[in-house]
C-alpha cells in the first residue's frame, strides 16, 4: 500500500485585481482537492487562467491560500514553522517554466543548485558541498564542470536541467513541476521529459506535473486532473482520461489538440467557444456557456466532483 504523501483539501486561493479602476477578487483556485501517493505522477492539465499554476504555488507556499488544508506526510504545510517548515521546503521542490527567468543570472549554476542546501545547512563541508553539486549535475545529464558556469552560457535545455538539479539536490519527496518543458523546442522537450521519467524511477520521486499540453501530460502522468475556471472537472487514470474523456470540457480540450495527421483534420469542424470572464464567475457550472449538454440545472447549480462509471473516475457534471 502506497503512502499518501501530499493531501490537498478544498483549497481556495484568490487575488485582488484592478480592472478599469474597479477592484475585483479573482478566485484563481475555487475548491480543489487532490492527493498524491508516493511514487506517483499526478498531471494537472488546463488552459490559461484555470488555476493550475496557483495550485502548485499554493502547495509550496509561494502564495497564501484563503482557505483549505494541505498536508505533507500528515503534517500541516500551510501553518508549518521552524523545523517543520524546513522539512516542507526541502521535500516539496518546484521546477519552473521559464529556465531563463528562474535562474539568477549573476550566480553560478553550482551556487543556484546548492542554494537550498546552503540555507538549510545540509552540507557537512565544502568538499561535501562540491561533491553533492557534481553528483546532482551528473544526475541531470550535465557535466560537473557546469557548476562554475553562468546561466547565459547555457542553452534552454541545459538551463532546465540545471533547474531540475536545483530541485532534486536536497533529495526531496515531491517535485512540483510547473510547465517544465513548455518553453523548450520539441526535440529538447523530449530529452527533458525523458530525464524527468528517469529521475522519477531512479530517485523514487513523486510529481505534481502541471501543463497545458495534453500530449506531455499523457506521456508522464499516472493520473490526470483536468481543471477549468479554478476547479477540477475530471480526475482519473491517465489512460482512462486520454482514451475515454467524459466531461464535456475534457472532450473539447482533447478534440482541439492539433493531431499530427493531415488525414484527420479538425479545423472548421470543432466548435469550442470563448471562456467566460474570470471576474464574473457564473453561478452554475463555469463551462455551461460553452457546453453542448448544458441544461437549466447547469446554469443554476455548480456540479460537484462525484464518482461516475467503473473506472475509479471523478467527474463534475450534472449530465452524465
Amino acid at each position: 500500500m502506497s503512502e499518501t504523501l501530499l493531501e490537498v483539501r478544498d483549497l481556495k486561493t484568490s487575488f485582488n485585481v484592478k480592472r478599469s479602476g474597479r477592484k475585483y477578487r479573482l478566485k484563481a483556485v475555487d475548491g480543489v482537492s487532490l492527493s498524491l501517493v508516493s511514487g506517483e505522477v499526478l498531471g494537472i492539465v488546463g488552459e490559461s487562467g484555470c488555476g493550475k499554476t496557483t495550485v502548485g504555488r499554493s502547495i509550496v507556499r509561494l502564495v497564501q491560500p484563503d482557505s483549505g488544508a494541505i498536508q505533507f506526510r500528515g503534517g500541516d504545510v500551510l501553518g508549518a514553522r521552524g523545523a517543520a517548515l524546513r522539512d516542507v521546503r526541502l521535500n516539496l521542490r518546484m521546477v519552473f517554466q521559464d529556465p531563463y527567468a528562474s535562474l539568477n543570472p549573476r550566480r553560478s549554476i553550482g551556487d543556484s543548485v546548492a542554494e537550498a542546501g546552503d540555507i538549510n545547512g545540509v552540507f557537512k563541508s565544502r568538499a561535501d558541498r562540491a561533491a553533492r553539486i557534481a553528483e546532482t549535475l551528473s544526475a541531470v545529464g550535465l557535466e560537473p564542470s557546469f557548476a562554475t558556469r553562468y546561466p547565459h552560457e547555457l542553452s534552454g535545455g541545459q538551463r532546465q536541467r540545471a533547474g531540475i538539479a536545483r530541485a532534486i539536490l536536497p533529495a526531496p519527496a515531491v517535485i512540483i513541476a510547473d510547465e517544465p518543458v513548455s518553453a523548450l523546442d520539441v526535440s529538447v522537450q523530449a530529452q527533458v521529459l525523458n530525464l524527468m521519467m528517469d529521475l522519477r524511477e531512479r530517485l523514487g520521486l513523486s510529481m505534481l506535473f502541471i501543463s497545458h499540453d495534453i500530449g506531455v501530460i499523457g506521456q508522464i502522468s499516472d493520473r490526470v486532473a483536468v481543471m477549468y475556471m479554478g476547479r477540477v472537472v475530471e480526475l482519473s487514470d491517465a489512460r482512462t482520461i486520454l482514451d475515454r474523456a467524459m466531461h464535456p470540457y475534457t472532450r473539447a480540450l482533447m478534440a482541439a489538440v492539433p493531431k499530427p495527421d493531415p488525414s484527420q483534420r479538425i479545423v472548421g469542424v470543432v466548435e469550442t467557444g470563448e471562456p467566460p470572464s474570470q471576474f464574473n464567475r457564473p453561478t452554475g457550472c463555469a463551462y455551461a456557456a460553452r457546453c453542448p449538454l448544458a441544461s437549466e440545472r447547469c446554469l443554476a447549480e455548480a456540479p460537484l466532483l462525484r464518482p461516475i462509471g467503473p473506472d475509479n473516475r471523478l467527474v463534475a457534471c450534472h449530465n452524465l
Binding site: V186, D213, P258, P260, D261, V267
Partner: protein, 325 residues
Amino acid sequence: MMLSVRDLTVSIGPETAPIDIVSGVSFDIGKGEILGLVGESGCGKSMTSLAVMGLLPQPGPRIRGGRIDLVGADVTQLQPWQRVEAGHGRIAMIFQEPMTSLNPVRRIGDQIAEAVRVHDGVSGAAAQARAHELLDLVRIPDAALQLAAYPHQLSGGQRQRIMIAIALACRPQVLIADEPTTALDVTIQIQILGLLRDLCNRLDMSILFITHDMGVIAQLADRVAVMYGGRIVETADVGALFNEPRHHYTRGLMDCMPARNLGARRLPTIAGQAPRPGAIRTGCVFAPRCAAVQDLCLVAAPPRIVLSEGHEALCAFPLQGERPS
C-alpha cells in the same frame, strides 16, 4: 505564383566574413495556397519571413543573395514604403503576441481605420465602416460595440482576430502568419486556424504560415517546408510529408512529439541541440545530430534530391519512405 523566393540568403556580421542565418532558401506559394514553414527556435524561419516582408531589423541582418518575387514583381531590395508606392504592397503579416502589436491606449476601431486610411485613402465614417466590415470578416461578434473597445478588454483570441482584421485592411494577396496561435490555448487556437483557412478560401489569399508545431502544420498546411540551420531541408505536400518523411530531421521531429507516443516509456529524441548560425561550415548542417550520419555527410554539402513531383529533401542518404508509427 503569388510569392516566389529563390536562393534567399540573409546574413549578419561583417561584409568580409558574413554569417548566414538563412542560406539558399527557395519556395513558391500558389494562389489560395497555405505553405507551412516549420522549424525550431533559431532555424531562420522568422528571418525568412521578415526578409520577405522587407522588415529585417536595421541595422543587422541583410539580404546577401537571392530574389523575392511578389505577384510577379521583384521586391528583393525594396523598402516597405517603396513597395506600397510601386503598388506591390498587398502583403501583410501577423505575429505571435497580438498584445505587443496593438497600441494599448487606442481604440480597436481607430487602429483598424488607420490601416484602412493608409491603403484605401479614405477616412472618417468611411474608414470606420470598413473597419466594421473587417471585424465581421474575422467573426468578432457585436462588431459595432467592439470598435470602441481597448485591446486589454479583449481576450487573447479576440486580439489575434483584430490583428488579422488590420492585416486584411490592405486586401492582401499574401498573408504571413508568424506563430499566430502559439500564445493561445488549444481551444482558441483551433478557431483561429479555422478562420485563417476560411479567409484563404473566401478571399483567394495565399498564406505563409510559420510554426514550430507539426500538429498545426498537419491541420492547416497544403504544402510544407521544413527548416533547419537556416536551410530548407525538406519540401512536400502535407500528406506526403507526414506519410513518408524523407529527411532524418523531419522524421525526428515527428517521432519526438508526445502525442504520437502516448503511454510509451521513453520518447525518441534528436540527440544534441541545434547549431548556432555559422557554427557548421562544411558538410550537412544536421550531420552532428543525425542518427544515420555517414562519413560523406561531414565533408560534402548534401544534394537536393527530388524524390517525386514536389517532394525534395536536402540529404545524401534520404529515408526510404517508411511510414512513421
